[in-house]
Symmetry: C2
Subunit: 109 residues, 2 copies
């Protein structure tokens, strides 16, 4: 029970709104990216774009941080989680990804 996509994974939210949504400062959000805890996309000009999934991730990170967990450890746990996924689950998620790719930003036009 990991997946459920559609809008959840579209990278369309700017960092200011993510800050409001998560209660984290922009500085913190950028830092967690540097520590490889979160992976926003970039607009043509270079502005970060986040998904709702990213927002949820950040909320989880914020909770861990409050407990005193260091970013390094949080990253370890994330990698561990990823490894836990079975092949079929991954395949399933990728399929959904394809389907929802229809909703990605139009590169052309």
């Amino acid at each position: 029970m990991t997946g459920q996509l559609s809008y959840k994974n579209s990278k369309v939210i700017t960092i200011g709104i993510v800050s409001e949504l998560t209660g984290l400062t922009i500085r913190q959000i950028r830092y967690y990216e540097k520590r490889k805890l979160i992976f926003p996309e970039r607009s043509e000009q270079g502005n970060r774009k986040y998904s709702f999934n990213d927002v949820e991730q950040l909320i989880n990170i914020a909770n861990k941080r409050e407990e005193g967990v260091q970013t390094f450890e949080i990253r370890q746990d994330m990698l561990k989680e990823k490894r836990k996924k079975s092949g079929s689950q991954l395949r399933d998620e990728m399929l959904r990804g394809q389907i929802n790719a229809q909703f990605g930003v139009n590169k052309d036009r």
Copy 2:
């Protein structure tokens, strides 16, 4: 089969990204708001914030416009649609709205 919310109705997308997502110009998106076809929220400073639902609405509007339908007529159809909803459906949607309000932008803090 109208509803399905959660992320779909959170107003978190800025107009520039909506423009990319819909293929409409920013000018057009603002104009459709003036014609009451779309209802974005505003950030504290005044910037428009749209939901995925809004984006879908805009795509529908764009299609109608391509067929030569005027904004006035599009609006008529929208109001007609709204009236069609049965009370139970509306109640259902509002409930979901409550549940997902949890995900609205934090006004405080």
